[in-house]
Amino acid sequence: MQQKGTYIVELSDLNFLFRFFPVFILAYYFCPAKYKNMLLLAASILFYGFSGWQNTLLLLFSLMLNYLFISLMETRPRDRGWRRGWFASAVIYNVGTLCFFKYSGTALPLGISFYTFTLLSYDADVYLRQEKAAKNWPELGVYALMFPKLLSGPIVQYRQLAGQVRKRTTSVRKTEYGLSLLIIGLSFKVILADTVGILWHEIRTVGFESISTPLAWMGAAAFSVQLLFDFQGYSLMAIGLASMLGFDLPKNFDHPYRAGSISEYYRRWHISLGQWFRDYLYIPLGGNRCGLARTCFNLLVVWAVTGIWHGTTPNFLLWGLLLGFFIILEKCLLGRFLENHKVFSHLYVWFLIPLTWVIFDITDIKELGIYFTRLFPFWGKGIAVNSRDWIIHGTKYLPFFLGALAVSCPLADKLWEKFWDSIAAKTVLFFLFWICVYQIVNGLHNPFRYFSF
């Protein structure tokens, strides 16, 4: 939701799509290769600057501090204690700042969770000698601050992107492909996620006491679909924009609902965050090489931290620990069984994951309890429940659920790969783009996007 006093905060904002980006991309293409990074950095700072100057100062300060610490660390490449000291200082600064803002109760600076992890990836990759340190601060700036991924990722690791920051090529074809991804991502977000999201919003408006059990399940499905397409759509837009700038970002979502276990689900969901935790937390803790008990402990730590990273209210910790529990359960007991029972394994994922998303979204534990009594109506009755509510909502949102299903099936992938460059596909994308623009405007008109009273 748009904050007060800010103009561009989202890639799906009209000011971004119709003002910022067209101007930027024209300048970028005409800019000599030598200055492209400077231009991109300046544009990214400007992009972020719209969210307020205090936030921007903090961002720049963090950037400089990380650059400074890691540069100092590299002045004595053979001194282990020296290196460790500077690396630890950088980590303490980053984690400390993030925790401070998460727990102090002040408004969280925009994108801080994402850019802090991005900077930590730089620190760690240089410390672990996965990649050389940035030659100058703008180089690090482009990696950490480039506007397509600044606010919501993907949290690309420094080792994946350092080469491209130094040298990359733009091409008409990459631009065309990037634009296609941008429109697909925009459509995912605006047409699917935001629309299905209204159902979840309506359920909250009515109050959990007053929904029927079928609607409670439909709500869990709606929130799951909303979250997937919102986030996946945003990632696609970021990847598409980056492609137009000459970057190749790895994909962030790989059809999580095709997974046959919770652990597989999270290898397909927000892949960049999963890799971050794997490489910078799970493996340094010992990974799975120190015996089963230690592995389980490591997994729990990783998932507890994942939960906290998403938010500080207790429900996020509960969410993370629950996922950790199931992942451990799969590792110890269920894994083999799930592999041998394909149909069951999918039902298991489709049943459990929406429940975990409900926990993820309902920050008030008491409200969460009420929601679960509506999902499993054995313990209590609702108040003023309309038993036909799920039919009314079902008919309204069914086309969007079906649409979400259709674009998620393997056939859609094949068609996309084969035909994305065809005239037909481009015509469809063209119309999708303008439908999205129409939706964005007429949604913004209302206090709740895409929602009229």
Partner: protein, 365 residues
Amino acid sequence: MRKQKRMPLLLIYILASMLFVNITAAVSAGGIYEEYNTDDFSQPVVAVLMQGLSHRVWPWESKTPAFDPDQEQTAQGTESAVPPLQPAEDADDFIVKIPPEEETSPSAGDPSESSSPLHPTADDSGQENAAHEDGSQNPTAPEGGNQDPSQPVRYEFTEVTREYFDDALFIGDSRAVGIQLYSGWDNLTYCTESGMTVYNMFDRQITRADGTKTTLEEALAESSFGKIYLEIGINEMGTGTVDSFMEAYENAVLRLRELQPDADIFLCGIMYVRKSKSDSDPIFNNPAIRERNERIAQLADQQTVFYLDINEVTSDESGNLNPDYTWDEIHLLGKYNVLWTEYLSSHGIVKETLPPRENHSAPTS
């Protein structure tokens, strides 16, 4: 990915259309879309065009010569959502001759010209003013039925049972949808839809209880109702002015009166929003709602048109929607829609002897 060289067709499509749309929008922003143009540089000009399109105003249309070009009429003129009650020139007369401030006392000039089913008599103006002095409060008339026979009877609200609502029609926006779905009352007819406005209420597709579609216009023609409740007005706050809203609102009420001459019409004041919303929203805030409610209340005559204010039971001491009653700051939680049924039950109008119809339409002076 195929390797062959291809035209960047999508890029060309998008660039060309962006250019074209922006030029169209920029040109029409000063013309047909003038009223959507905020001129504050907060949004690209394309937004103006898209907003216009959502009101089905096309850029190639010429501006309709309206009597009041500053008002909503430009947008509404093409929409035909509110069919004119009378021949066009009468409608013009009606609007020109009763400026908003004079609505309550249409005594100036020839009464026959300014009279409308909403304001039955010129004589009545004194009484009306008296009734309205207490603003948006419950406009209970002081007198009962024992009056000078030349004076129209003014009715007071009384307690009624649920059966009273058997022949009632409830029209309204998403807040009324809440009543329909969660009040537990299923004996009345509902014509409710999220996003309903006075501009589109008559021809908007409405889903009946049995799932079939209809429009309010059709529903009103099909059956006759004893009471009509109109709960509408918040969606309109984003466009136009209070005057343009009231004009459309009055027209809508007149149209209801025309289609259902015998029904009592209950105009429900707009329910407030929560304080946090009201304090932060330049459009949907309680002072603006109060302003509109005061104007809506002025339409009541306590004879066939009545004003109801749900805020009497849903607002807190500070005059905002009670924060415990809402999650989204605007709508009542499902379980609190019972406040509506309780309120409506205590605000019925019982007429022992129906006054003859002539009293309503003809001025008595």
